[in-house]
Symmetry: C3
């Protein structure tokens, strides 16, 4: 188990894409170091329970779905969607308080959100709204990947677009020029994250975009990155015909993308990564989303290699100290915001204990 | 190494089936966290020695059998069956006290028993008698399996027959009805374990039995389980034609089985499992034992999956607390008996140290 | 990271064979628990740097060689061979002190030596001279192997030739007689290691020698072993026609070998092993070196099996105590010398800290 203070607990995290649960699968997924069972029963409502039978700790995910309930297939205890034990074979009375923990879950725009902290504080209005996932003007394919790395290292990665030039030169970036000639035009420090914007004028289109458009013409490229606590990232990308006036607001010659990314800690050293890369053109051609999906996987594998290598290095020597450079401004702000919220939560819990 | 108090040391454990040693094999087996070498030399007598050469810790199991002795094949030191070093190549005098620890072993009814504790206390009369293994009225096949789980979790498993209904519905159990309609008719708390008895009247025969008998007729089924410290289990099963009066003692229409099971801790988190499932009918047909052996392996693999999953859950969170249900009476008694004996042993050792 | 006092830090160790770096490869190698990047840039000079980018700890070995510099392919920081950061893409000024640690390296006789301790103390004259590796009268093939064992266990192994009889009876040794009939004629305790000499008269030639010479005639065999801190070993072997007077200095009927071995700790429990087995006859026949190389690999695999087994036994029980025998004189002396130097280094460092 993670030590107190490692994670922000009272917060909504993505637990799954809804399609992962359509077939009644009993999905075992560790979330913030807690063993969680996720499923949808006959009613179609998403349920999240502690994955350990309260009797002897057997895995409920190896059990059986019965209506909206789940039965442990060790000694047959049955639990309803609230976690309450409703049957013990061979025992007439079930103690009223016997059961497993249930987690607040909210399903919205194809995402299943979970609240790993105190259930009483789970306010659905705190869930970040992602209109792109429900707007018919955008099309994409839901994706999942697993990282053997602290989720904060992945957040770091996304906080500086310069890495596009080196990690993704032949996939998502396009050229190393991007790192040398462009700078963030603005880093906006938000209360709950940051916003960065970066323009690259008169550039070659990156390979993943060219692969879909088959257009080698020069482009003006804008990336806007929005990162929110605990690890929700939107990348708004725009590729316009070079000189078509996109930087002055004329998007008539532009194609746009929305990359929605969600990082949920599995353990202190591993992360669930949910994502969807959406486009706003040629919507009736399903091969566009497929091609973009494959390009993203290719690029994310490049990130995964470098970030997991970084994680191994940090694990091997806790005394290693990082040295910030100018472009770390966004990630440094985000870490401060996150630490402040974790610290506030920790103090809040203490006050409750003392009160 | 396990901490003091994890295991009961002064106790006989099964170290091997005798057939494992017939060919002069130098068998390395960790028993109660101790690296043990087992072998039979020319005399045919079973020997158990510390598997580490006293010189530099090389594995004697990688050495060479010479008569009843074993030679370390690193620098050639030779040890007799008492563990005494009897030769050092190139050195004229062998120090009288040089040698490796030897363990008391007793071979009985095809089992090699070992005493991991104080040798002086190793009384062969303490070995549990298992007449079935030598009685020609019973026939079976010796088996071995390895569990990545605390041996006590396997003992727990066998303490409640209700698991037959859920874990083994399609193999050893037969139907879930077994858990709902039957209850232990008696749990007898023994000084050194427990005895449970459970009847299931007018039931379908379980698949493993039907496979051998090819008889779908309803049966009256009796299971008697006997569990002894540290982890010796006998399951006496009887399947009689339904209504033939078995519950009143008429066994004329009954077929019987004896499941002899022996659990020996390898480490705190892993276990050696020795077993033999014997039958009392159709003794001249060797395919009966083979079929039953395969059925047992199938069933034990079901247990292994659920118990090893349970172990992983318990390992991941030491703060997880189990909640007893009514049918845990037998296992709860057994745990108390075992803990009391381990505690007594621990205090006894302390008194020796203080005396 | 290893605890202070585990390794001798201020000492030259072999980091690589020079041929490992010829193609501009960025070689990642952990040395004394430190992650090191080794490479040769355009100038052909060997470079050793901390393998962690000072910015975020990404692996420089996954970066790109540029002239004599290396560029981290995460955010593009570029480092020169002294470790100094010379470029940060998108940032105009590079802080003067920003960079990664560089290690003193010296290339000599095809070996790349590294100094893991205080750079100011790295005196190239302290490197042990190995004339055989540059002398045209000797021919061999450079080899590398990895051990999952403490380097001191490998040093131990080489300190007693008796193991040839048992571990290598069918490869490098030839007969068990070697252990019984021969003894070290002299163990010379050196300030920085030891020298042992052992003769075996009128013996069968060992298999690896016979394989090359195709000569079954009896031989007089002399082995001289020289071991130096921290783990440099030379085995000077001579095989002369039996009775030809080799023990009186007549080497006219002798064939000789020089086994140069270098042990560099990777971690406290694993070791890099560099070696070259050279011969002084039939120099124009390249198959001799190839055959000897293969024979050595065969023999070293025998050592590896026994030493890694020994390591697992020692790891499993820190309370296990070894018992010395007479032939441990050389290894016991070496351990004392090594411990004394490590202790002196530890005290020296303390004095610096206090001064």
């Amino acid at each position: 188990m993670a030590k107190d203070g490692t994670f922000l607990m009272n917060c909504w995290y993505v637990a799954a894409w809804d399609h992962e649960l359509i077939d009644g699968k009993l999905l075992a997924r560790t979330i913030l170091d807690q063993p969680v069972l996720l499923y949808k029963g006959d009613s179609g409502r998403a349920v999240a329970l502690d994955n350990r039978c309260c009797h002897r700790g057997a895995m409920l995910s190896k059990g059986r779905l019965e209506g909206d309930c789940v039965r442990c297939m060790y000694h047959g205890l049955k639990f309803d969607p609230t976690g309450k034990c409703v049957q013990i074979p061979g025992q007439d009375v079930v103690p009223a308080k016997l059961g497993v923990r249930s987690y607040p879950v909210v399903e919205r725009d194809h995402l299943v959100w979970i609240w790993p902290g105190e259930a009483a504080k789970a306010d659905p209005s705190l869930i970040i709204d992602i209109p792109y996932l429900r707007d018919p003007k955008w099309r994409g394919m839901a994706g999942y990947m697993h990282y053997d790395a602290d989720y904060r290292l992945i957040v770091d990665n996304l906080s500086d677009f310069a890495h596009l030039a080196f990690v993704h030169a032949k996939t998502l970036g396009g050229s190393e020029e991007y790192a040398f000639k462009t700078k963030p035009v603005a880093i906006e420090r938000l209360e709950n994250g940051f916003r960065v914007e970066r323009w690259h004028m008169n550039a070659n289109p990156p390979p993943f975009h060219r692969k879909v458009t088959r257009d080698d013409g020069l482009i003006d490229r804008r990336n806007i990155g929005l990162m929110y606590v605990p690890g929700v990232f939107f990348l708004e990308s725009l590729f316009a015909e070079a000189g078509s006036g996109a930087e002055k607001g004329d998007f008539s010659k532009a194609k746009q993308y929305r990359n929605c990314q969600f990082f949920t800690p599995e353990t202190p050293g591993s992360t669930h990564f949910f994502w969807n890369y959406l486009h706003d053109y040629d919507l009736d051609n399903p091969t566009v989303a497929l091609s973009l999906h494959d390009s993203m996987v290719e690029g994310f594998m490049e990130d995964k290699a470098i970030i997991e290598g970084q994680q191994r290095m940090l694990d091997a020597d806790p005394q290693f100290r990082m040295h910030p450079i100018a472009s770390d401004a966004a990630l440094a702000h985000f870490r401060r915001v996150l630490e402040r919220r974790i610290e506030a939560e920790r103090l809040g819990l203490r006050q409750v204990a003392a009160g």
